[in-house]
């Protein structure tokens, strides 16, 4: 198999540099793009990554304005190649989200049915949920979890969480005053609530698993 070629979507949503740097430590080609590539150029990439931090509504606005929403839904998903959403990027895969919405909910990319809501925690717990927390994979084992320990710690920073409509799309959970979905997956689309690019050895392993996903 040839080296994976990773497209990192840069729609201006925060610390993209760390994600690019993380992939550069793997055996792959990494390209950070601010605008969606053409159909021909799209064909040169084997994997796409949607990073981001910030509010759901602002994130969707940015994806729409830069043309990435159409590219992801109409071009990338047709290729049936792997897509990985990280943090806000994971949440944007949902049907809708509540963060930053002026009334009701804001439509998401709708690649994995579900809703992004504020974590409901008891008053003695603080939000955002910041720090290292255990990741519990559900069986059957996902290709993304190959070789990762059960309850390995990943680095999280968030206040909202993805609630998949279909439990089968929730691949792993973590616990902060109650269980929440930390990894989602449906077909070739995956999303992780934590930051693999900041999660040292285990995060590196997860990115390696993502790069090993078959790309046609």
């Amino acid at each position: 198999m040839s080296r994976p070629s990773v497209l990192v979507i840069d729609s201006g949503l925060g610390n993209i540099g760390s994600v690019v740097a993380a992939f550069q430590r793997h055996d792959c080609i990494v390209k950070r793009l601010q605008n969606p590539p053409t159909h021909e150029a799209t064909d040169t990439y084997s994997h796409a990554v949607l990073p981001g931090v910030g509010a759901f509504a602002a994130g969707m606005d940015a994806l729409k304005a830069s043309g990435w929403e159409d590219w992801i839904k109409q071009m990338w998903c047709q290729t049936e190649r792997p897509l990985l959403g990280i943090c806000l990027g994971m949440q944007l895969l949902a049907s809708e989200g509540l963060e930053g919405a002026t009334n009701g909910a804001v439509m998401g990319l709708d690649l994995i049915p579900g809703r992004v809501e504020r974590l409901s925690v008891a008053s003695d717990l603080v939000l955002p949920h910041v720090g290292w927390n255990a990741l519990d994979w559900r069986s059957p084992v996902s290709p993304l979890s190959q070789g990762l320990p059960q309850s390995g710690d990943m680095y999280f920073v968030h206040s909202y969480a993805f609630q998949p409509s279909d439990q089968a799309h929730g691949l792993a959970t973590s616990d902060y005053g109650g269980s929440f979905t930390a990894v989602v997956g449906r077909g070739h689309c995956y999303g992780v609530q934590f930051h693999p690019e900041k999660s040292q050895r285990l995060g590196r392993h997860l990115l390696e698993n993502f790069l090993a996903l078959p790309s046609c």
């Binding site: 540099g17 760390s18 603080v126 720090g131 040292q200």
Partner: protein
């Protein structure tokens, strides 16, 4: 469950050579006398290999000359490491915040800059989220149960009550608070547990406590007093101490911390 954090502080000084100003890692005593202990990037890599939970990178010089050195050091560290980075020292403007985030900082540490211009906290939090802003408080005790804030690397009395200022900063959008007891810095005499307890009880954001760690037991005391994280500089520069041993000791005491395997 969310783990407590163990955080080494990387404090930058400058060394002048024929290549110009170079960064040098230093430790301090009561914010005064400095001792050079090595190269920031290689030490950062060692800390990552030793599974630290986060790193705090602070420019102690806080001058026009040191600013570009801080940016370069940060860029090199962020390129090589997959560890969360909180960065600060002399941050007074939104432009500086953006420059640090561009180069790989995950969180910005605001201290004197926030005292001088509190609205900087609101602005950074509105643009990048509360999780991006760490309010750093350098304090000296002024009577029992009371602490005063000092700025300019601990040299200037800000004439502000530490608890009141921390609460205001959180109200404005700071997502974390880091409190350092100046008189304990570098002494190894133990953390100010009363300060940790008092802040942890009043704040609804995670607290990092630092200044005074000389034994692994001091970290445990800090967590028990309510701190989400304990940070130390001098402690980890001692030849017989490293974050892995310290972590095992904390783990074995029953504190919920990442285990080092």
């Amino acid at each position: 469950m969310l783990k407590r954090r163990l955080i080494p502080k990387l404090q930058l000084g400058l060394r002048h050579s024929f290549r110009g100003a170079q960064p040098v890692l230093v430790v301090t005593r009561q914010f005064g006398s400095r001792r050079a202990i090595g190269d920031p990037l290689s030490q950062a890599k060692i800390y990552e290999a030793q599974l630290v939970d986060e790193l705090i990178l602070v420019d102690l010089e806080r001058t026009e000359e040191s600013w570009p050195v801080l940016l370069e050091t940060l860029e090199a560290v962020a390129e090589d490491l997959a560890t969360p980075l909180a960065v600060g020292g002399g941050v007074h403007s939104f432009d500086q915040v953006q420059a640090l985030l561009d180069r790989g900082a995950d969180k910005i540490v605001l201290n004197s800059g926030a005292i001088e211009q509190p609205s900087l906290i609101d602005r950074v939090a509105a643009a990048y989220g509360a999780q991006c802003v760490v309010l750093s408080l350098d304090v000296r005790t002024c009577g029992r149960g009371s602490w005063g804030v000092w700025t300019k690397a601990g040299r200037l009395d800000a004439r502000r009550d530490a608890i009141t200022w921390a609460l205001e900063a959180v109200d404005r959008g700071a997502g974390e608070v880091m409190a350092t007891a100046i008189e304990r810095d570098g002494t190894g005499s133990g953390l100010d547990l009363e300060l940790a307890d008092c802040l942890a009880k009043r704040l609804n954001v995670p607290l990092t406590i630092s200044g005074g760690c000389g034994l692994a037991d001091h970290f445990i005391d800090g967590y028990k007093a309510g701190a989400a994280a304990v940070a130390a500089g001098t402690f980890f520069s001692q030849r017989d101490q490293n974050p892995m041993q310290c972590r095992s000791h904390i783990y074995n005491s029953g504190i919920n911390i990442r285990s080092s395997f």
